[in-house]
Symmetry: C2
Subunit: 192 residues, 2 copies
DNA sequence: GTCTATAATAGGATAGAC
DNA sequence: GTCTATCCTATTATAGAC
């Protein structure tokens, strides 16, 4: 019995990397095999349901990250402005400053859309809801908070697409900087 | 010699529909065959290079639409505000009010990214540039125009992703309405 | 310009040894 | 928990008739 070559977390992390870069339908099990140095049978040992199981595991790990680094940052016991900064730092890190695609966007298309829609919808809603909660708690009106939150998520997704399409990560960086300033301004305005 | 069953334009339009909905790697030639009622050999007659040729044809048609309905609207001989309205009308129509994905976003991932990157980058840049030109012509400062233009394209792409992820086209509708108001306001401010 | 038939390969998945 | 070997189906692509 050979010992496990890597932890499940590391394994799923590599899958996530593959899926976000090339999409669900763009990845073959042979790609996974190459990226993990595991034979196909080993992969089926870890994911009995095959590729679909892999997608589910990746989404689960992404959900955990969202919960810990985004929702966690936004609901931390700190001043609202510091919470915002923490979320933006997490976003910049996770998306490699605009060079790495979002796993959610990678899975909204093709077969993944049919297979994982509920989880995808849940992730987007969780993210938006955490932002709304933080903003309203800081005194921003409900309608304005909803608008700001939606705009942020939209801006992240859109700038990642445009950054990749134009091969220019500056779009992501500039967009995030502006969103951060706008949200900060909303917090300041609500403080009065 | 059987007569052609449909025009090339109609043929490519159906391919575009397939690729935007399910992505390049999510479509098999059998899908194309079913959607066009053409046998595989007929498809190879129209696209000797196979699937890659189909992708190129789709991008070419999308580029023509961009040139005619977006760049055309933005550079028409009308007041700037009317040009803006025409662009937004075209966007709402092309994206089915938020229910239909963008072909550019569908092709930034997977094999399509490697195959078509130059055309994709060109399309994004053309769109942004046409907006910048219109805004500066209307008196908006260059830096502000660049920011507004980038934000619009980012907002369109992002809201389509989020709309699809959450199964809620309202995100697209609301986002476009706000972008339209913002751009109108910039035009008004520049008029003085 | 379209068809049927076929080749060649790649894909997802399983069996069974160690 | 990993491997080699194998299966079956789908996929891309071509040949040649009409």
């Amino acid at each position: 019995m050979p010992a496990p070559i890597m932890s499940r977390e590391e394994l799923v992390a590599r899958l996530l990397e593959l899926f976000r870069e090339r999409g669900y339908d763009g990845i073959a099990l042979s790609d996974v095999s190459a990226a993990t140095s595991l034979g196909k049978s080993s992969l089926y040992h870890h994911f009995p349901g095959g590729k679909q199981d892999m997608g589910a595991a990746v989404l689960e790990q992404a959900g955990a990250w969202l919960e810990r680094d985004i929702v966690g940052a936004l609901s931390a016991d700190r001043p609202p402005a510091r919470r915002l900064d923490a979320m933006f730092a997490a976003l910049r890190a996770f998306y490699g400053g605009g060079t790495r695609p979002c796993i959610l966007a990678a899975l909204v298309t093709g077969s993944a859309h049919e297979l994982f829609q509920p989880a995808l919808g849940g992730a987007f809603r969780t993210w938006i809801q955490a932002l709304v909660a933080m903003l309203t708690e800081a005194g921003v009106q409900a309608a304005a908070a909803r608008e700001l939150a939606q705009d942020l998520v939209v801006a992240v997704q859109g700038s990642l697409i445009v950054a990749r399409g134009t091969q220019d990560p500056d779009v992501f960086r500039d967009t995030l900087r502006r969103q951060q300033a706008r949200l900060k301004a909303a917090l300041d305005a609500a403080q009065r």
